[in-house]
């Protein structure tokens, strides 16, 4: 029988799946959509938490040292601002929740937001959902699959984390489960919030912007809640506070689990209801105006690129200013604490802090950590350059009398301007933060701290442009991987015996903690030279290669 005869001999009913079968295919499709990035997130999160818990015994081998640590940290706003409220950190359960959960909780909620918005709106924005909804699939089934998929990842993350923590450390089962469930609770809560936001906004990108704003505000509230003058109920207002209240099974609270569960269910329920009322490509709250009215003219490439980069510059600046400002406010508490606990100063020496008793040294450490803000901005900017090519928008510009290198250099210079603005604002917000508590950082030191962040961001810009010129499809994934891996290496080096040659490869290892330390002009010059060389070689390679769209 020929294929044409087969087609004519079969009825439309033959080969049809059951509704459940169709839904399972859809679920598999959704799982596949976020599986690559999901696996990277899970591995990174599980590995980092396991390392923190695994080295606890070596770092604090005696009960006396653990109690000294707890006495010095618990209630100290400087440390609680960094990692959250410290509860029973003389136990491995309390320490893991505080030390690993502090930086990892914001990371996992960002992942939840990105994953849910990708699933619930990404395909729709790309026009793929019409194909699915044009068949027998209902909008409800499609949306439920998008909601269930993050839940599957949350379960996988929880199981892997519990197993890894218990295999690598002496943590109790209850401690491992409380940590993993708290993290997974934050993930599902913000995933549900993301699924709700895409119903209210006209696109995934708008939902992500608002979602990241909510996460930033919640984090800021958690940081502010450790200040003495703040009311005790303040942490309970946000999921970031709920997570820190989990504590241990002896002293902590179980209410956060209930709040995470109930909050997720309520948000997911509202999102599901709204999803059925919203038109495809529509928005229930923030619509695109049909007519935008008079708009400023776009009279040059420069103006265009500045306008395109402006939201990212503002967003990264706000995050940097907020975090540095708040940490600046608690710098004095840190200095007073460290004078009383010289043993802890030695512990912090593992991070490279030379004189922890000096508030400016603490600011130096914080700003060095916050170098991620301009560095991530730089990576995002270069990834956006690739996005222009991948979507074909660049083709429309490059068939005009515009040299490829001119377009690229214009973009790079706009990105560099953004890096300078963000870096200087980070430096000066530390000065403002410290001035509130009476230990003002000198303007010259603030300027120096800000300027010190620029070379490393330039270095990552250069690396990104180099990848873009040679292998454009890898620009975002490779650049982010190198950036985050090299940062993680330096963080983990405080706990692990990482080979020296490997640590030396990380640019963050060479970053001086200005203003606690003097700026290292040689390092800065090397970063700048390498960054500029990367841009030049990348630009040449870009000129010589074919345009590559997705």
């Amino acid at each position: 029988m020929t294929s044409a005869e087969i087609v004519t001999s079969r009825t439309a009913e033959e080969g049809r799946s059951t509704p459940l079968g169709i839904w399972l295919v859809l679920l598999k499709h959704h799982l596949r959509l976020i599986a690559p990035s999901g696996m990277i997130w899970i591995i990174g999160l599980v590995l980092t938490a396991s390392v923190v818990a695994g080295v606890w015994i070596d770092t604090f081998p005696t009960e006396q040292e653990r109690l000294a640590l707890a006495q010095s940290i618990e209630g100290n706003p400087a440390f609680e601002a960094m990692f959250g409220k410290a509860i029973q950190i003389h136990t491995i359960e309390g320490f893991t929740l505080w030390r690993a959960g502090g930086p990892l909780f914001p990371a996992i909620v960002i992942w939840g937001m990105l994953a849910a918005t990708r699933l619930a709106r990404g395909d729709e924005d790309r026009g793929h959902d019409e194909l699915l909804l044009g068949g027998v699939l209902s909008r409800r089934a499609l949306f439920l699959s998008a909601l269930v998929t993050p839940l599957i990842f949350a379960v996988a993350y929880t199981i892997l984390t519990v197993v890894a923590l218990m295999a690598i450390s002496d943590i109790s089962a209850s401690g491992a489960i409380r940590f993993a469930c708290g993290m997974a609770g934050g993930f599902t809560f913000f995933a549900a919030l993301g699924a709700l936001l895409v119903q209210l906004t006209p696109s995934r990108s708008s939902a992500v912007r608002i979602g990241l704003g909510v996460i930033g505000a919640a984090l800021a509230m958690r940081i502010l809640s450790v200040l003495e003058q703040m009311p005790e109920w303040l942490p309970w207002l946000t999921p970031f506070g709920w997570f820190t209240e989990i504590g241990t099974i002896e002293v902590g609270s179980n209410l956060p689990f209930l709040l995470f569960g109930a909050g997720t269910l309520v948000l997911a329920g509202v999102a599901t209801t709204l999803a059925q009322q919203r038109e495809i490509h529509g928005s229930l709250l923030l619509g695109d105006q049909e007519t935008a009215g008079p708009q400023p003219p776009y009279k040059s490439l420069w103006w265009h690129e500045v306008q395109q980069s402006r939201p990212a510059v503002i967003g990264f600046s706000l995050v940097g200013v907020l975090l540095t400002g708040i940490f600046g406010m608690v710098a004095n508490d840190f200095a007073e604490f460290i004078v009383d606990f010289p043993a802890f100063a030695a512990f912090l020496g593992e991070f490279g802090l030379s004189d922890p008793g000096d508030p400016s040294a603490y600011i130096g450490l914080i700003i060095t950590m916050l170098v991620l803000v301009p560095a991530l901005f730089a990576a995002g900017h270069v990834a956006a350059i690739r996005e222009e090519e991948a979507t074909g928008r660049l083709t429309v510009l490059l068939i005009l009398p515009l040299e490829r290198h001119r377009w690229l250099i214009t973009n790079v210079l706009v990105g560099l301007a953004g890096i300078v603005i963000i870096s200087l604002l980070v430096g000066f917000s530390a000065m403002i933060g410290t001035s509130i508590t009476g230990t003002m950082l000198a303007p010259a030191d603030a300027l120096s701290a800000g300027l010190n962040l620029i070379p490393i961001a330039v270095l990552f810009t250069g690396l990104g442009v180099l990848i873009f010129g040679i292998y454009p499809q890898l620009t975002g994934p490779l650049l982010y991987t190198v950036l985050l891996t090299s940062f993680l290496l330096v963080l983990l080096d405080a706990f692990l015996d990482i080979p020296g040659w490997l640590i030396t490869l990380s640019p963050f290892e060479h970053q001086p903690m200005v203003p606690g330390e003097a700026a290292n002009l040689t390092v800065s010059a090397i970063f700048l030279v390498l960054g500029v060389a990367g841009v030049i070689i990348g630009a040449i390679a870009f000129r010589r290669r074919d345009m590559m769209m997705d």
């Binding site: 009215g293 395109q308 928008r393 429309v396 005009l400 009398p401 040299e403």
Partner: protein
């Protein structure tokens, strides 16, 4: 510099490979000033690759494409000063209005006549005040068309320019093409709409599996191709055994239908041996010509 000083555009033995795939295979063709040339071919025939080579967006593996004597790959900016391009898919910036996108493209081109832009904006019934993300495919295509036409470039390169446009605007596009030709603009038009090409183009190039299988005026192509002959007869059918160049003979109820290539002299003499009541000789349409080039062997996509 180009090999033919008078030609606007020239592909000189251009080959483009993507790994093992040969997207363009030794393509050679030229366009003269003021010509409207249609580029035809099935999906994957190499039309878009040819245009991307011409625009300097991809580098030919061998050979050279030139526009007004400038090498497309080595000197793309000089090429782009003389041409305007309409892509088949135009992804706009979602946060810019249509007007801002036209501002930007016009500014980078080096300026344009505001009144001409306004003319085409009204003619294509385009609202420039909406955000990019709200435009339909047809409206996005209008931006590309207006941006290209407002420049008054010497050469218009269009890749399926009417995709997404409604039938009324498709017709409007036809008259825009005629006006462009009357002004002396040269047009290279890649299209799947054969009627559009048949109406507007002076010459037609047919690509198949990356190779140029035919290039000429419609008259030349028709001359080389078989014509359809239909004759009504009474009595016995004519004897055609000795007539060269005929094929697909069908005889049914006093109607004879066949295809003839080359001279019809011997055919007419053979028909005259019977009692012919009516005779019709019809030249092939572009669609028939196109199918004749694609009916012989499977294309790359069909394999």
């Amino acid at each position: 510099m180009a090999h033919h000083a008078s030609s606007v555009l020239e592909f000189d033995r251009v080959t483009k490979r993507f790994g093992q795939t040969v997207a363009l295979d030794d393509l050679s063709m030229t366009l003269q000033q003021g010509e409207v040339v249609g580029l035809l071919g099935s999906n994957g025939a190499g039309k878009t690759t040819a245009l991307r080579v011409l625009l300097g967006l991809i580098k030919p593996t061998s050979g050279q494409a030139t526009v007004y004597g400038y090498d497309s790959w080595r000197d793309p900016v000089a090429v782009h000063r003389r041409l305007a391009y309409v892509p088949s898919e135009f992804n706009v910036w979602p946060n810019l209005t249509g007007g801002q996108i036209l501002d930007l493209l016009g500014a980078i081109y080096g300026g344009y006549d505001e009144e001409i832009r306004q003319h085409y904006t009204e003619r294509f019934v385009f609202d420039p005040n909406k955000k990019g993300r709200t435009y339909s495919k047809g409206n996005r295509q209008k931006i590309a068309l207006i941006a290209a036409l407002m420049t008054r470039a010497d050469l218009l390169v269009m890749d399926e320019p009417t995709s997404g446009l409604d039938p009324i605007l498709e017709q409007e596009f036809q008259s825009v093409l005629r006006e462009a030709k009357a002004r002396g603009q040269t047009v290279l038009l890649s299209s799947h709409v054969l009627s559009e090409v048949e109406t507007a183009c002076d010459r037609v190039a047919i690509l198949r599996n990356g190779r140029l299988v035919e290039y000429g005026t419609l008259k030349e192509l028709r001359h080389l191709s078989a014509r359809t002959v239909e004759a009504m007869y009474r009595g016995t059918p004519p004897v055609l055994d000795q007539v060269p160049g005929i094929e697909d003979i069908e005889i049914e109820d006093g109607l004879l239908r066949l295809q003839v290539t080359g001279s019809t002299d011997l055919l007419i003499k053979a028909l005259a041996t019977s009692e012919i009541t009516s005779l019709q000789v019809r030249e092939p349409t572009l669609e028939e010509l196109f199918h004749s080039y694609y009916g012989e062997e499977p294309t790359r996509d069909q394999r």
